[in-house]
C-alpha cells in the first residue's frame, strides 16, 4: 500500500478536500498536541490502495509550535510515497513558502490550490501552468467545496499513485528556514498569481463594519451568543427531555420485566447503577449534537475570529485569548461542549487554562439547584439577588483561577496571531457530519467513565457497613471532620457524591436522603437546614468538582491525567475554602 501525506495551512479547506477525496467525515480546524488520532483513510488511486494521512494545519515546516512539531515528526518517521500540499488560492502570497519548504524535502509533491471559487469572487487571477513551471511540480487549481477542477485532480492523483516509487522519509535537513523560503517564493508569484489592485467591495467588509464596530461590536457579540445558546437549548432541551422519557419508558417497559427474575440486589445494580449511567450519557447526546452543529456554523462562517477580536482586550489580562471567552460563556449552558470547544485554540497552555476555568461557569444543571434552593430558603425579593450573587461568585472564581494559573499554563500572550477569514456560508452537510463525529467521540469515552462512576455510587449506597448502615452513611461519618467546619451535615456528603456523577441528580438524591418525595423536598430542607448551612451547601455544590461528564471531557481533551486531577482537586479545594470563609464569617456575624 502507498502512503500520501496531506499537508496545508489552517483555513485552506484541507479537511473538506480530505473528506471529498475519501468520503470520510473529519472536522475542520486544527488542534495542537494530537500526536495520535490523525485522520487516515484508504482510497483506490491508479489501481493501487493509497492511505491518505491528514496532518495538522501548519504555517511553516521549520517552526516550533505543537502542530509543526507533530507534522515534522510524522514526515520524518513515516514512509511516504508522496505529499499533497493544499494552499488557499486567495493567500498564495503568504502560503507559497510552505510549498518551497515541502518541495525541498525531496518527497514527490503535488500542489493543490484550493478555494478557487473564493479567489475568483475576490477577483484574483491564478495561472497554475505558470506556477507549475516555476515550482517544478504539478500545480492544480480546485474548489473542494464545489467540486471545481476535481476530475483533473483525480487524474493527476491516479497518475501519481501508478508511478513506481520507493517510500521514503522526508529529508527535513534540506528544508530552508522560513526567511529563505519566503525569499525563494517571492519571485515565483509574478504573472502566476495576481491580486486585483483594489479588492472588490465585499459584503464581508460591510458586515465587519457592524460586527467589529468599536461600541456596537460588544452588544452584537452578546446578541449572537444569546442566539446561539437559546437555539442550543430551544432545539436541544426538548430532544433531551424526549430522549429521557424514551429511556425511562424503555426501562419500565422492557428492562424491569426482563430483569424481574434476577435477585433484587442484582436488579438494583443493573437498573439504578448501570442503566442510570447509560441513560445519563445518552441524554447528553442531543444537546451536544445541536451545540456542535451551531459551533461549526460559528467557526466555519468566520464569526469566531470576530468574537476573539471583540473580547480579546479582557481575556488578554487573564492570560487567555478572545476565543476562550466564547467557550466560557458556552459553559453556562453545559460545561461538556465548552471543554470540547477549546479545540479552536492553538496553544496548549491556553487550552488548559480555559479548561481549568470553564467548570466554574454555572451550568444549567447547577442553576436548577440554585433556583430551587433560593426559592425555598429565601423570600421572592431576596431570591434573585442570591442568584445574581452566585453568578458573580462564579465569574470571580473563574477570573481568580485564570489569574493565578496564567503564568504556569498560559502561553506567550503577545504571540497571539489569528487570521480573520472572509465570511463563508458553511455547508449543512458538513456541519452535520462534523457534529456526528464529535458526539460519537464523546459517547465512546464517556460511556466507560460515567458507567464506572454510577456503579461506584450505587455500590456505596447499597453495600451494608454494619448497624443497618450503608457505606454511604459510613462515608458521611468519615467526611464529617472535613464537612463540619463548612457547615454541611454529614448525611449530605452522599448528595455531593451524587452531584459528582451528574448535577442533575443532586436534588433527587437529597429527596432520597430526607426520605421525602421530590415535591416535599422544600419543606424538608427548611426543617433540616438553616439558611447559613443551606448557603454553604449551595456555594460548595456550585464550585466543587465538575460532573463526571465534564471530567471525562477534560481527560479526553487534555490527554493528561495529571491535569485532570489538578482540575478536580483545585476546584474542590477552592470550594472548601470559599465555603469555610462564608460559613465561619456568617456564623460569627449571626
Amino acid at each position: 500500500m502507498k502512503h500520501f501525506a496531506l499537508i496545508g495551512l489552517p483555513n485552506t479547506g484541507k479537511s473538506t478536500l480530505f473528506n471529498r477525496l475519501t468520503g470520510l467525515s473529519q472536522r475542520v480546524g486544527n488542534w495542537p498536541g494530537l500526536t495520535v488520532g490523525l485522520a487516515r483513510a484508504k482510497l483506490l488511486l491508479g489501481g493501487k490502495m493509497v492511505e491518505l494521512v491528514d496532518l495538522p494545519g501548519v504555517h511553516d515546516l521549520s517552526g516550533y509550535s505543537d502542530d509543526e512539531a507533530v507534522v515534522r515528526e510524522v514526515l520524518q518517521t513515516g514512509d511516504f510515497d508522496a505529499a499533497l500540499l493544499v494552499l488557499n488560492a486567495s493567500q498564495l502570497d503568504r502560503q507559497l513558502p510552505l510549498a518551497v519548504q515541502l518541495i525541498a524535502t525531496s518527497l514527490p509533491c503535488r500542489v493543490i490550490i484550493n478555494m478557487a471559487d473564493e479567489a475568483k469572487l475576490l477577483g484574483i487571477e491564478i495561472r497554475p501552468e505558470v506556477l507549475t513551471e516555476r515550482l517544478g511540480v504539478p500545480v492544480l487549481l480546485v474548489s473542494a467545496k464545489r467540486g471545481q477542477g476535481w476530475p483533473a485532480l483525480l487524474d493527476e492523483l491516479n497518475r501519481l499513485a501508478a508511478e513506481p516509487t520507493a517510500p521514503r522519509h522526508a529529508d527535513l535537513d534540506r528544508v530552508p528556514d522560513n526567511g529563505a523560503a519566503i525569499a525563494a517564493a517571492e519571485g515565483t508569484l509574478s504573472d502566476g498569481w495576481q491580486l486585483p489592485t483594489l479588492l472588490p467591495a465585499r459584503w464581508s467588509a460591510r458586515l465587519d463594519n457592524w460586527l467589529m464596530h468599536p461600541w456596537l461590536g460588544v452588544p452584537l457579540f452578546f446578541v449572537v451568543m444569546a442566539a446561539l445558546f437559546n437555539a442550543t437549548y430551544l432545539i436541544g432541551t426538548p430532544l433531551q427531555d424526549g430522549l429521557g422519557e424514551l429511556l425511562d419508558a424503555f426501562k419500565v417497559q422492557a428492562l424491569v420485566p426482563l430483569f424481574a427474575v434476577l435477585p433484587a440486589i442484582v436488579q438494583s445494580l443493573l437498573l439504578d447503577g448501570v442503566w442510570q449511567g447509560v441513560s445519563t450519557v445518552l441524554t447528553f447526546a442531543p444537546i451536544l449534537f445541536v451545540f456542535f452543529t451551531l459551533l461549526a456554523l460559528v467557526e466555519d462562517s468566520g464569526y469566531l475570529a470576530r468574537a476573539a477580536y471583540i473580547t480579546d482586550a479582557l481575556m488578554a489580562k487573564l492570560g487567555l485569548d478572545g476565543r476562550g471567552f466564547v467557550m466560557q460563556l458556552m459553559g453556562f449552558g453545559c460545561n461538556v461542549p465548552a471543554v470540547f470547544g477549546t479545540r479552536v485554540m492553538r496553544e496548549r497552555g491556553q487550552r488548559l487554562l480555559s479548561m481549568l476555568i470553564i467548570p466554574f461557569s454555572l451550568c444549567s444543571a447547577r442553576l436548577q439547584v440554585v433556583v430551587f434552593f433560593a426559592s425555598v430558603l429565601f423570600t421572592p425579593a431576596q431570591a434573585p439577588w442570591v442568584l445574581t450573587g452566585l453568578y458573580l461568585l462564579s465569574f470571580a472564581v473563574a477570573i481568580g483561577t485564570a489569574w493565578l494559573f496564567k503564568r504556569r499554563l498560559g502561553g506567550c500572550s503577545e504571540g497571539f496571531l489569528l487570521e480573520i477569514p472572509p465570511y463563508r456560508l458553511p455547508g449543512l452537510k458538513h456541519m452535520l457530519t462534523r457534529a456526528t463525529a464529535e458526539v460519537r467521540a464523546f459517547l465512546q469515552l464517556a460511556f466507560n467513565f460515567i458507567l464506572i462512576g454510577c456503579v461506584l455510587v450505587w455500590l456505596l449506597t447499597h453495600i451494608p457497613a454494619g448497624d443497618g448502615r450503608t457505606l454511604a452513611d459510613a462515608f458521611g461519618q468519615v467526611m464529617a471532620p472535613v464537612l463540619d467546619p463548612i457547615g454541611i451535615p454529614p448525611q449530605l456528603a452522599v448528595a455531593l457524591l451524587f452531584g459528582f456523577v451528574a448535577k442533575e441528580v443532586l436534588l433527587g438524591s437529597l429527596a432520597v436522603i430526607y426520605g421525602v418525595p421530590e415535591a416535599g423536598l422544600g419543606a424538608a430542607l427548611t426543617t433540616h437546614l438553616d439558611w447559613v448551612s443551606a448557603m454553604s451547601f449551595l456555594i460548595f455544590a456550585l464550585t466543587y468538582t465538575p460532573c463526571l461528564a465534564t471530567v471525562a471531557a477534560i481527560r479526553q481533551e487534555s490527554r493528561s491525567l495529571r491535569f485532570t486531577v489538578l482540575s478536580v482537586v483545585w476546584s474542590t479545594g477552592l470550594a472548601w475554602m470559599l465555603t469555610l470563609l462564608f460559613y465561619q464569617s456568617a456564623r460569627a456575624l449571626t
Partner: protein, 77 residues
C-alpha cells in the same frame, strides 16, 4: 516618516522596516506575512487596548498591540 504599526492611522499603509521580537515570534509573524519590506494596512483598532486588525495582501490578521509595538513601519502613500 517612521513609526510603529500600532500607531498607524486607521486605513494607513506602512512598509515594515524592523521587527523587534524573539526569533520564534519572528517566524510566526513571517508565516502570517509580517516580514521586512512587507506592506501592511491598519484596518481596525479594538477599544480598551484591545487587538488590531491589519491587512497584508489578501489576508486580514488579528494581532495584539504588544506585538505591533515591536514592528517599525514607514508610512507609505
Amino acid at each position: 516618516m517612521g513609526t510603529t504599526l500600532d500607531r498607524l492611522p486607521i486605513g494607513g499603509l506602512g512598509v515594515i522596516r524592523q521587527l523587534t521580537m524573539n526569533e520564534e515570534l519572528k517566524q510566526r509573524a513571517a508565516a502570517f506575512g509580517l516580514r521586512l519590506g512587507g506592506k501592511v494596512k491598519l484596518l481596525r483598532r479594538a477599544p480598551f487596548g484591545g487587538p488590531l486588525v491589519v491587512a497584508i495582501g489578501g489576508t486580514e490578521l488579528l494581532l495584539r498591540r504588544a506585538l505591533a509595538r515591536g514592528i517599525a513601519v514607514e508610512l507609505a502613500a
